[in-house]
Subunit: 125 residues, 2 copies
Protein backbone atom coordinates (compact mmCIF):
# COMPACT_ATOMS: atom_id res chain seq x y z
CA UNK A 1 0.00 0.00 0.00
CA UNK A 2 1.34 3.42 -0.91
CA UNK A 3 -0.09 5.25 2.13
CA UNK A 4 1.79 5.88 5.32
CA UNK A 5 0.17 6.88 8.56
CA UNK A 6 2.56 9.80 8.98
CA UNK A 7 1.99 11.29 5.52
CA UNK A 8 0.94 14.95 5.50
CA UNK A 9 -2.76 15.74 5.15
CA UNK A 10 -4.11 15.99 1.61
CA UNK A 11 -3.66 19.38 -0.02
CA UNK A 12 -6.74 18.94 -2.21
CA UNK A 13 -9.70 16.85 -1.10
CA UNK A 14 -10.38 16.05 -4.74
CA UNK A 15 -7.67 16.47 -7.35
CA UNK A 16 -9.15 15.97 -10.79
CA UNK A 17 -6.98 15.52 -13.87
CA UNK A 18 -8.46 15.89 -17.33
CA UNK A 19 -6.35 14.61 -20.22
CA UNK A 20 -6.05 17.28 -22.90
CA UNK A 21 -3.36 15.59 -24.95
CA UNK A 22 -3.31 16.12 -28.71
CA UNK A 23 -2.08 13.63 -31.29
CA UNK A 24 -1.83 13.85 -35.04
CA UNK A 25 -5.29 13.47 -36.66
CA UNK A 26 -4.32 10.17 -38.28
CA UNK A 27 -2.95 8.57 -35.11
CA UNK A 28 -4.53 5.16 -34.56
CA UNK A 29 -5.15 5.73 -30.86
CA UNK A 30 -6.92 9.05 -31.26
CA UNK A 31 -6.61 11.67 -28.54
CA UNK A 32 -8.65 13.36 -25.85
CA UNK A 33 -8.21 16.84 -27.28
CA UNK A 34 -9.91 15.86 -30.53
CA UNK A 35 -12.86 14.68 -28.45
CA UNK A 36 -13.36 18.08 -26.88
CA UNK A 37 -11.37 17.58 -23.69
CA UNK A 38 -10.17 21.17 -23.42
CA UNK A 39 -13.64 22.64 -23.51
CA UNK A 40 -14.93 20.05 -21.07
CA UNK A 41 -12.12 20.82 -18.67
CA UNK A 42 -12.86 24.54 -18.82
CA UNK A 43 -16.51 23.80 -18.21
CA UNK A 44 -15.66 21.51 -15.28
CA UNK A 45 -13.44 24.16 -13.70
CA UNK A 46 -16.21 26.73 -13.90
CA UNK A 47 -18.86 24.35 -12.59
CA UNK A 48 -16.70 23.25 -9.65
CA UNK A 49 -16.35 26.91 -8.68
CA UNK A 50 -20.04 27.61 -9.17
CA UNK A 51 -20.93 24.64 -6.98
CA UNK A 52 -18.72 26.07 -4.24
CA UNK A 53 -16.69 22.88 -3.99
CA UNK A 54 -13.93 23.59 -1.51
CA UNK A 55 -10.48 22.06 -1.73
CA UNK A 56 -11.00 20.77 -5.23
CA UNK A 57 -8.74 21.35 -8.22
CA UNK A 58 -9.54 20.62 -11.85
CA UNK A 59 -6.21 20.29 -13.68
CA UNK A 60 -5.29 19.60 -17.23
CA UNK A 61 -2.89 16.73 -17.74
CA UNK A 62 -0.74 15.33 -20.51
CA UNK A 63 -1.49 11.95 -22.07
CA UNK A 64 -2.98 9.59 -19.48
CA UNK A 65 -2.44 6.70 -21.92
CA UNK A 66 -6.06 5.62 -22.18
CA UNK A 67 -6.63 7.56 -25.39
CA UNK A 68 -9.14 5.16 -26.92
CA UNK A 69 -11.49 5.75 -24.01
CA UNK A 70 -11.29 9.52 -23.86
CA UNK A 71 -11.87 12.14 -22.90
CA UNK A 72 -10.44 10.57 -19.76
CA UNK A 73 -10.58 11.97 -16.26
CA UNK A 74 -9.02 10.58 -13.09
CA UNK A 75 -9.92 11.72 -9.60
CA UNK A 76 -7.41 11.38 -6.76
CA UNK A 77 -6.71 10.36 -4.09
CA UNK A 78 -9.25 7.63 -4.78
CA UNK A 79 -7.90 6.95 -8.27
CA UNK A 80 -11.28 6.56 -9.94
CA UNK A 81 -11.37 7.02 -13.72
CA UNK A 82 -14.19 8.26 -15.92
CA UNK A 83 -14.91 8.85 -19.56
CA UNK A 84 -16.50 12.28 -19.75
CA UNK A 85 -17.97 13.14 -23.14
CA UNK A 86 -20.41 15.97 -22.50
CA UNK A 87 -21.22 18.80 -20.14
CA UNK A 88 -23.97 16.61 -18.70
CA UNK A 89 -21.32 13.99 -17.91
CA UNK A 90 -19.20 16.64 -16.20
CA UNK A 91 -22.16 17.80 -14.13
CA UNK A 92 -22.91 14.27 -13.03
CA UNK A 93 -19.31 13.49 -12.04
CA UNK A 94 -19.01 16.74 -10.06
CA UNK A 95 -22.35 16.39 -8.34
CA UNK A 96 -22.41 12.66 -7.67
CA UNK A 97 -18.74 11.90 -7.12
CA UNK A 98 -16.90 15.06 -6.05
CA UNK A 99 -19.69 16.71 -4.10
CA UNK A 100 -21.55 13.72 -2.69
CA UNK A 101 -18.87 11.00 -2.63
CA UNK A 102 -20.82 8.62 -4.86
CA UNK A 103 -19.81 7.00 -8.12
CA UNK A 104 -21.17 7.50 -11.64
CA UNK A 105 -21.37 3.87 -12.66
CA UNK A 106 -22.25 4.47 -16.31
CA UNK A 107 -19.10 6.53 -16.90
CA UNK A 108 -16.59 4.48 -14.88
CA UNK A 109 -13.46 3.29 -16.67
CA UNK A 110 -12.52 -0.14 -15.38
CA UNK A 111 -8.79 -0.78 -14.86
CA UNK A 112 -8.81 -3.88 -17.06
CA UNK A 113 -9.38 -1.76 -20.17
CA UNK A 114 -5.72 -1.32 -21.06
CA UNK A 115 -4.45 -0.14 -24.47
CA UNK A 116 -3.13 -3.65 -25.17
CA UNK A 117 -6.46 -5.28 -24.42
CA UNK A 118 -8.34 -2.75 -26.50
CA UNK A 119 -6.00 -3.32 -29.45
CA UNK A 120 -6.47 -7.07 -29.13
CA UNK A 121 -10.24 -6.74 -28.98
CA UNK A 122 -10.20 -4.56 -32.10
CA UNK A 123 -8.10 -7.08 -33.93
CA UNK A 124 -10.68 -9.71 -33.03
CA UNK A 125 -8.28 -11.41 -30.59
CA UNK B 1 -12.97 9.69 3.28
CA UNK B 2 -12.92 9.57 -0.51
CA UNK B 3 -12.23 5.84 -0.82
CA UNK B 4 -14.90 3.23 -1.21
CA UNK B 5 -14.32 -0.45 -0.69
CA UNK B 6 -15.93 -1.31 -4.02
CA UNK B 7 -13.81 1.12 -6.09
CA UNK B 8 -11.92 -0.45 -9.01
CA UNK B 9 -8.27 -1.35 -8.50
CA UNK B 10 -5.76 1.41 -9.20
CA UNK B 11 -4.74 1.76 -12.83
CA UNK B 12 -1.30 3.12 -11.94
CA UNK B 13 0.46 2.14 -8.71
CA UNK B 14 2.15 5.52 -8.72
CA UNK B 15 0.73 8.39 -10.75
CA UNK B 16 3.14 11.29 -10.69
CA UNK B 17 2.15 14.76 -11.87
CA UNK B 18 4.79 17.37 -12.60
CA UNK B 19 3.59 20.96 -12.95
CA UNK B 20 4.93 22.47 -16.18
CA UNK B 21 2.80 25.60 -16.14
CA UNK B 22 4.21 28.78 -17.63
CA UNK B 23 3.38 32.31 -16.49
CA UNK B 24 4.53 35.68 -17.79
CA UNK B 25 8.12 36.39 -16.67
CA UNK B 26 7.00 39.30 -14.46
CA UNK B 27 4.25 37.37 -12.66
CA UNK B 28 4.63 37.72 -8.90
CA UNK B 29 4.03 34.04 -8.22
CA UNK B 30 6.61 32.75 -10.68
CA UNK B 31 6.02 29.44 -12.44
CA UNK B 32 7.34 25.90 -12.51
CA UNK B 33 8.31 26.04 -16.18
CA UNK B 34 10.75 28.89 -15.56
CA UNK B 35 12.38 26.71 -12.91
CA UNK B 36 13.13 23.94 -15.36
CA UNK B 37 10.08 21.75 -14.77
CA UNK B 38 9.81 20.51 -18.36
CA UNK B 39 13.35 19.19 -18.47
CA UNK B 40 13.00 17.63 -15.04
CA UNK B 41 9.80 15.88 -16.10
CA UNK B 42 11.46 14.49 -19.23
CA UNK B 43 14.35 13.29 -17.11
CA UNK B 44 11.98 11.71 -14.58
CA UNK B 45 10.09 9.88 -17.32
CA UNK B 46 13.29 8.44 -18.71
CA UNK B 47 14.64 7.47 -15.31
CA UNK B 48 11.39 5.75 -14.29
CA UNK B 49 11.64 3.67 -17.45
CA UNK B 50 15.31 2.92 -16.91
CA UNK B 51 14.61 1.81 -13.35
CA UNK B 52 12.01 -0.61 -14.69
CA UNK B 53 9.29 0.82 -12.47
CA UNK B 54 6.11 -1.00 -13.42
CA UNK B 55 2.69 0.61 -13.30
CA UNK B 56 4.07 4.10 -12.89
CA UNK B 57 3.23 7.15 -14.98
CA UNK B 58 5.03 10.46 -15.02
CA UNK B 59 2.59 13.05 -16.36
CA UNK B 60 2.82 16.72 -17.01
CA UNK B 61 0.12 18.83 -15.41
CA UNK B 62 -1.20 22.36 -15.66
CA UNK B 63 -0.81 24.78 -12.76
CA UNK B 64 -0.97 22.95 -9.44
CA UNK B 65 -1.32 26.33 -7.67
CA UNK B 66 1.78 26.06 -5.50
CA UNK B 67 3.90 28.09 -7.90
CA UNK B 68 6.12 29.72 -5.26
CA UNK B 69 7.35 26.28 -4.20
CA UNK B 70 8.07 24.85 -7.63
CA UNK B 71 8.89 22.88 -9.51
CA UNK B 72 6.11 20.99 -7.78
CA UNK B 73 5.36 17.29 -8.05
CA UNK B 74 2.49 15.35 -6.52
CA UNK B 75 2.36 11.58 -6.29
CA UNK B 76 -0.97 9.79 -6.11
CA UNK B 77 -2.81 7.93 -4.74
CA UNK B 78 -0.96 8.90 -1.58
CA UNK B 79 -1.12 12.62 -2.37
CA UNK B 80 2.42 13.41 -1.27
CA UNK B 81 3.95 16.62 -2.65
CA UNK B 82 7.56 17.43 -3.36
CA UNK B 83 9.64 20.31 -4.59
CA UNK B 84 12.01 18.85 -7.18
CA UNK B 85 14.73 21.21 -8.33
CA UNK B 86 17.42 19.01 -9.84
CA UNK B 87 18.04 15.66 -11.47
CA UNK B 88 19.47 14.48 -8.15
CA UNK B 89 16.13 15.37 -6.51
CA UNK B 90 14.28 13.41 -9.20
CA UNK B 91 16.51 10.40 -8.64
CA UNK B 92 15.92 10.50 -4.93
CA UNK B 93 12.14 10.77 -5.23
CA UNK B 94 11.98 7.91 -7.73
CA UNK B 95 14.30 5.64 -5.79
CA UNK B 96 13.20 6.39 -2.24
CA UNK B 97 9.49 7.07 -2.70
CA UNK B 98 8.25 5.43 -5.88
CA UNK B 99 10.50 2.37 -5.89
CA UNK B 100 10.94 1.75 -2.17
CA UNK B 101 7.82 3.34 -0.66
CA UNK B 102 9.76 5.73 1.57
CA UNK B 103 9.58 9.51 1.81
CA UNK B 104 12.18 12.13 0.90
CA UNK B 105 11.80 14.32 3.97
CA UNK B 106 14.02 17.16 2.78
CA UNK B 107 11.91 17.73 -0.34
CA UNK B 108 8.42 17.27 1.16
CA UNK B 109 5.94 20.09 0.65
CA UNK B 110 3.79 20.40 3.73
CA UNK B 111 0.08 21.11 3.15
CA UNK B 112 0.09 24.19 5.36
CA UNK B 113 2.24 26.08 2.82
CA UNK B 114 -0.65 27.64 0.92
CA UNK B 115 -0.31 30.59 -1.48
CA UNK B 116 -2.13 32.82 1.01
CA UNK B 117 0.21 31.91 3.86
CA UNK B 118 3.26 32.39 1.69
CA UNK B 119 2.07 35.84 0.61
CA UNK B 120 1.44 36.79 4.22
CA UNK B 121 4.88 35.59 5.28
CA UNK B 122 6.48 37.61 2.49
CA UNK B 123 4.60 40.70 3.51
CA UNK B 124 5.95 40.21 7.02
CA UNK B 125 2.49 39.35 8.38
Amino acid sequence: MPYRADDPALYFDAHVFVCVNERAPDHSRGCCKAKGAEGLREYMKGRAKALGLGKVRINQAGCLDRCELGPTVVIYPEGVWYTVRSEADVDEVLETHVKNGGRVERLLLPPELTPAKLAKARAGG
